[in-house]
């Protein structure tokens, strides 16, 4: 049907187009409705309910609870456990985000070269990404256990002095969690950086080399600036995942020894479910959600500006 034929009905084509668009939109909403309903039910409603519970003393079980206003938030402000958990959350986030990007980039650079085993190695480094964090954590728990393979290998290699209580002493426990998390997540960063590297035009690096740039200069002045978008993706992704890190900590140390590896995620879990203080746990969640959003938005702002600066 042409616009001319459409206008034969006595109505101009221009007035029909918006109606058609409206009709299309209406149909689109009908198609969206089931997904939206599910999203509202399983995401929006629990989120709003969580915010509401943050203002109550609900214990997670009894149908009777009281509205307590800002009491939970006032308690949070004076809770040394929450402060130390917040610090530890950022320690993990910074360490994991930094190392994940560093190792991911290094692997991507190495595996972007023409190596004989390039493809199998890419597959090997990416494989842990598809495994469940919980399963990986149990494997690492076995590896790090006092009588486990790591200490056994160290003893066999004559490095008995390096044997540690990997999960039992505060510093090694933190390091163990970072190692277990990195082992799984580095592959993802590697893949994103590889995609970024493969999108850099070969002419750029060739031109730089012809101009006398060495490998380091090519990396610093050509490759890294061109990888800025990939960096934004991996840094933001690793920040979000490491800020809400839970499975690895829960399985490996449970937040211990003492509170040495307690983060906001494990604190929220314990407060809500072990201490049966769901109202207070919800208040911590609300504050933590805003804290994560603020950090991620700030990081995004800085990284985007960097992308812009590098054209």
């Amino acid at each position: 049907m042409t616009p001319e034929s459409a206008s034969l009905g006595g109505r101009p084509a221009q007035s029909r187009a918006p109606r058609r668009r409206r009709a299309v939109r209406r149909v689109a909403w009908w198609f969206l409705a089931p997904a939206l309903a599910i999203y509202v039910l399983v995401i929006v409603y629990p989120m709003l309910a969580g915010i509401w519970y943050a203002f109550t003393d609900w214990n997670g079980l009894d149908p009777d609870y009281r509205f307590v206003g800002l009491a939970n938030f006032r308690r949070l402000a004076g809770d040394p456990q929450a402060v130390s958990s917040l610090k530890m959350t950022f320690v993990f986030a910074i360490a994991i985000a930094l190392l994940q990007n560093l190792f991911g980039l290094a692997l991507a650079l190495a595996l972007n070269e023409r190596l004989r085993l390039r493809d199998p190695l890419r597959l090997l480094f990416f494989m842990p990404v598809v495994l469940t964090p919980l399963i990986i954590s149990f494997l690492w728990k076995y590896i790090f256990s006092t009588q486990g393979p790591l200490n056994t290998v160290l003893a066999m290699a004559g490095l008995g002095a390096w044997q540690l209580s990997w999960l039992g002493d505060p510093m090694p426990a933190v390091a163990s969690i970072v190692i277990a998390t990195l082992w799984q997540s580095v592959g993802l960063a590697m893949v994103i950086y590889l995609a970024g590297l493969q999108s850099i035009p070969a002419e750029l690096t060739e031109a730089a080399r012809l101009d006398g740039a060495g490998p380091w200069q090519v990396l610093r002045f050509v490759t890294l600036p061109m990888l800025a978008p990939a960096m934004t993706v991996t840094i933001v992704n690793s920040l979000i995942t490491s800020l809400k890190l839970f499975d690895q900590i829960y399985v490996l140390t449970g937040g211990g020894p003492g509170y040495a590896t307690e983060t906001m995620s494990t604190l929220i879990y314990k407060t809500a479910f072990t201490f049966a203080e769901t109202g207070y746990g919800s208040a911590i969640s609300v504050v933590f959600t805003f804290a994560v959003a603020a950090v991620v938005l700030a990081a995004l702002h800085v990284l985007r500006r960097r992308e812009f600066e590098h054209g």
Binding site: K141, S145, G256
Partner: protein, 428 residues
């Protein structure tokens, strides 16, 4: 109408056929009404949430239950205590909890009958209710309602290999001094005296709880009531001595290295493999010890903590039991299973698999008698007390104690600080 009237004969024949058919129909209808009900009464479907440490004994009872009521099915999900805290509460809140639940006495953790009292059914009317000893009322009742069916008693003590002790002439101690001397002998023999598994959160409390009866409850059996009334505090009581003695064991080199990095399975394996001489854990871990060792030559000894043998006390508690989800209180299946669980034969099967003394009457068990001999002496003398945390008002104090022990063993805090935080949590 005469007998010769063919029509009347035909009518009669039709009537009698109709009557017979009606009778048959009525019979079938009655049968259909009655038969499925009687079949349903003999076939039950239910779910049971169990503690993983009790998976084997619970399964043994379930097998018997299904054999008695063919066509029944009991879907058991078993989880460690930390996971059970979460799953029980979440499923109760969501209305999806199992009909029969695992609960613990008192009010001190998330699955105690005090915490769940509005969500579990009163068992007072059940036939087994009068058989539960009155002495356990404080454990199994809340606000006067019977909320928990206890099957076995539990204690905390040192699980040790009997043959090793016999062959080396090591005798069981009755005072703290004798206990330290025993540890010294064990250490001198090249074995680790005590395997520690503090990497598993709930294990942290066990040595303290093993020491407290002799230090605190021998002098004041009403310590829990006094603590609730605010007459005593943890920080100024025998708790301080108990925690200091815990640390003394570490300082003297009697605990296995890296206790905070060792799980309970590793702890038990150390004893099972002969590396360590004992593991101070709950008696419920005997079955796992047998599994790891491949033999059953173990026993459990109470741990003395006083210099006076007359103050040698230990723990005895119905630490875990079963309850009915209040929503399933009217469920025939749940009622039938609970009644079956309390039958003497079931109690016997459960206790044999759990290697534990029973709460309810059951047949004698020579193996349990052998394993618990030294504990039984104190039990018969009335020198036992339940686990200290069962009357605590909230779960936070227990968790502070567990984390505090890890911090103490790592040298990151002091006994006074842990006890101060416990007092604060208790009084909050």
């Amino acid at each position: 109408m005469t007998a010769a009237d063919p029509h009347s004969q035909a009518r009669r024949a039709g009537t009698s056929r109709r009557t017979a058919l009606q009778a048959l129909g009525a019979g079938l209808a009655l049968g259909a009404a009655v038969w499925p009900r009687s079949a349903a009464a003999q076939s039950y479907q239910l779910r049971l949430a169990a503690l993983s440490a009790q998976r084997i004994p619970a399964q043994a009872v379930i097998d018997r239950f299904v054999a008695k009521y063919p066509g029944s099915s009991v879907n058991m999900t078993a989880a460690d205590i930390d996971q059970l805290y979460t799953s029980t509460r979440v499923s109760l809140a969501a209305g999806t909890a199992a009909e029969v639940l695992t609960v613990q006495p008192g009010n001190g953790n998330p699955i105690t009958i005090g915490q769940l009292n509005r969500f579990i059914g009163d068992l007072s009317g059940f036939p087994f209710a009068p058989k539960i000893p009155k002495s356990l009322d404080a454990l199994v009742r809340f606000d006067g309602r019977l909320l928990m069916l206890p099957i076995v008693l539990s204690t905390i003590g040192g699980i040790y290999p009997t043959k090793t002790f016999e062959s080396r002439g090591w005798t069981l101690p009755r005072t703290w001094t004798e206990f330290l001397a025993l540890c010294e002998k064990i250490k001198a023999s090249g074995m680790i005296p005590i395997a520690a598994g503090n990497g598993t959160n709930w294990v942290n409390q066990l040595i303290t709880y093993a020491l407290l009866p002799s230090i605190v409850y021998a002098d004041n059996p009403n310590f829990n009531e006094d603590r609730r009334a605010g007459k005593v505090k943890f920080a100024t009581s025998g708790w301080k001595e108990a925690l200091n003695k815990y640390l003394e064991l570490q300082k003297l080199g009697f605990l296995s290295p890296n206790p905070n990095g060792t799980s309970i399975d590793e702890q038990l394996q150390m004893v099972a493999s002969g590396k360590a001489a004992m593991a101070i854990v709950t008696s419920g871990n005997l079955a796992n010890m047998f599994k790891f060792a491949g033999h059953r030559d173990f026993a459990i000894m109470p741990i003395p903590a006083s210099s006076d043998a007359n103050k040698f006390w230990t723990t005895a508690s119905a630490s875990t039991g079963y309850a009915i989800n209040a929503k399933a209180a009217g469920s025939e299946a749940a009622r039938a299973f609970m009644n079956f669980l309390a039958e003497p034969d079931s109690v016997n099967v459960f206790a044999s698999a759990a290697v534990s003394p029973t709460v309810l009457p059951s047949a004698p068990n020579p193996e349990v008698d052998r394993i618990f001999r030294s504990w039984s002496e104190l039990f018969r003398a009335g020198r036992t007390t339940p686990y200290p945390d069962f009357t605590w008002p909230n779960p936070r104090a227990q968790q502070i104690h567990n984390a505090g022990i890890q911090e103490l063993l790592a040298g990151k805090t002091t006994v006074d600080d842990v006890l101060r935080r416990m007092d604060e949590a208790y009084d909050a």
